[in-house]
């Protein structure tokens, strides 16, 4: 049996009929067509699929699409605004916070939630705040630097996602 699900994804209203067993991450990637949210582990550990659901960081592989009814979803595609990278995205670029980049969307969304909760985190708070995300390349040092740099750029401003639909949305 299919269920209607209405969500707002990066500021755009979406309505689809989905099977109840469809995971939110598969909904975003395969139904909405936003492939920036990655699937890493399939066991709720790696955090690559992290998105914001009503502003809270959530692993979208551990939620069914039907549970997102009426929710406001923000994915990595919703971070840049008018072709300009979000400070977190820019900081990951500048500080070499990624190598292969597979885990990066999840890290950026988890970091956005972290900075929303705590605009000026210490290194320890950053490491604890990102404990739900795994990176196999960087050893985390540059990821921590990136979040510190972003916090500085944002001047303690809250890391509000823009809700804007980036031009690359739709997947490549």
């Amino acid at each position: 049996m299919k269920h209607k699900v209405s969500t707002t994804v990066n500021g755009t209203r979406r309505e689809h009929e989905v099977e109840s067993r469809l995971l939110l991450v598969h909904y975003l990637r395969d139904v909405v067509g936003l492939t920036g949210t990655h699937i890493g582990c399939d066991t709720s550990q790696c955090g690559a699929c992290t998105i914001l659901v009503d502003g809270k960081a959530v692993k979208s592989c551990t939620m069914f699409a039907v549970q997102a009814e009426g929710k406001n979803l923000t994915t990595i595609e919703g971070m840049a605004k008018d072709g300009e990278l979000h400070p977190l995205q820019q900081a990951f670029w500048d500080e070499h916070g990624l190598q292969c980049g597979y885990c990066t969307p999840g890290f950026i969304m988890a970091a956005a939630y972290l900075l929303e909760q705590n605009p000026n985190p210490t290194e320890d708070e950053i490491r604890r705040g990102l404990e739900g995300n795994l990176c196999r390349c960087t050893g985390y040092v540059n990821i921590v630097k990136s979040v510190q740099a972003a916090a500085k750029t944002m001047g303690g401003a809250r890391a509000k996602p823009t809700g804007h639909q980036a031009v690359t949305a739709g997947g490549e």
């Binding site: 692993k59 939620m63 069914f64 039907v66 404990e131 739900g132």
Partner: protein
């Protein structure tokens, strides 16, 4: 991985949820935070025929103190318990334990009611509930924690029974929970809890058997005047933990003794 197909229904009240559960029968499951259930479904270790989503039920996430009891609603998320001023004031060990469950993303979703009903041997709240003689209130009755955790993943909950809240005694004396694990977000290999209450100690252990364990021999030794390191030697009395990938039975018993000693010594 894709879970097996299931019917999905949203409940807007406890009565409606109970009715739906009755309708679908034994193969239905309650969906709260979903952070134990959905991974099991993806691995197809669980294949419920129907899920009853209780997340839309209002007023099931209350956290309040009344009459020297702390009432925590079933849908209270770990993050709410972790940050709650009421919990920090009335039962700080519970706030600390909540902050040790999973990671930020997990804590944003996972619920205390779900942890209780799931009854994983490695769950952290069950240890605190058992050691403090908490009560699990359902839509049908009140069950003492000591009667609730029957076996691994096994509780006395009937198919149409739903956890409403967990009621803890207020305890704000010295306390410590030590969760021993290899990575921050992991389950406990072994956990030990110590809480000073009414002039005595309560000692609980996580993941040293199919259910949480109250280390009464340690409590008694402390009551009789033993030093923490002497009393903690009794932490493994009667334990028969099964080994797993991370720890042998002998190592778990060793951890039970060492962590109990540390929890008592570090309690503040």
């Amino acid at each position: 991985m894709i879970p097996a197909a299931f019917e999905y229904a949203r409940a807007s009240s406890v009565e409606e949820a109970s009715k739906l559960l009755k309708k679908y029968g034994e193969d239905a499951k309650v969906l709260a935070g979903g952070h134990s259930l959905i991974p099991l479904m993806r691995l197809r270790l669980a294949q419920p025929k129907a899920l009853v989503d209780i997340n839309g039920i209002k007023d099931l996430d209350h956290i309040k103190e009344s009459g020297s009891k702390l009432h925590v609603g079933a849908l209270a998320r770990h993050v709410m318990i972790q940050n709650s001023a009421v919990v920090k004031q009335n039962l700080p060990i519970l706030a600390e334990v909540a902050g040790e469950v999973g990671d930020n993303q997990v804590r944003n979703m996972g619920t205390i009611g779900g942890v209780m009903a799931h009854a994983d041997a490695a769950g952290d709240y069950p240890t605190i509930a058992l050691m403090l003689d908490a009560e699990i209130v359902t839509n049908q009755r009140t069950i003492a924690a000591k009667d609730f955790f029957k076996d691994i993943f096994t509780t006395p909950l009937a198919p149409d029974e739903i956890v409403i809240e967990v009621v803890f005694p207020v305890a704000n004396g010295p306390h410590k929970y030590i969760k021993f694990r290899r990575r921050l977000f992991d389950w406990a290999i072994v956990g030990a809890a110590a809480q000073k209450m009414n002039g005595g100690w309560r000692i609980g252990l996580t993941n040293v058997g199919p259910t949480p364990v109250r280390a009464t021999a340690v409590e008694k030794a402390l009551h009789d005047g033993a030093k923490p390191e002497e009393a903690a030697q009794h932490a493994s009395d009667g334990l028969n933990p099964s080994g797993d990938l991370r720890a042998s039975p002998e190592y778990k018993k060793h951890l039970a003794r060492v962590l109990t000693k540390r929890a008592i010594e570090q309690a503040e």
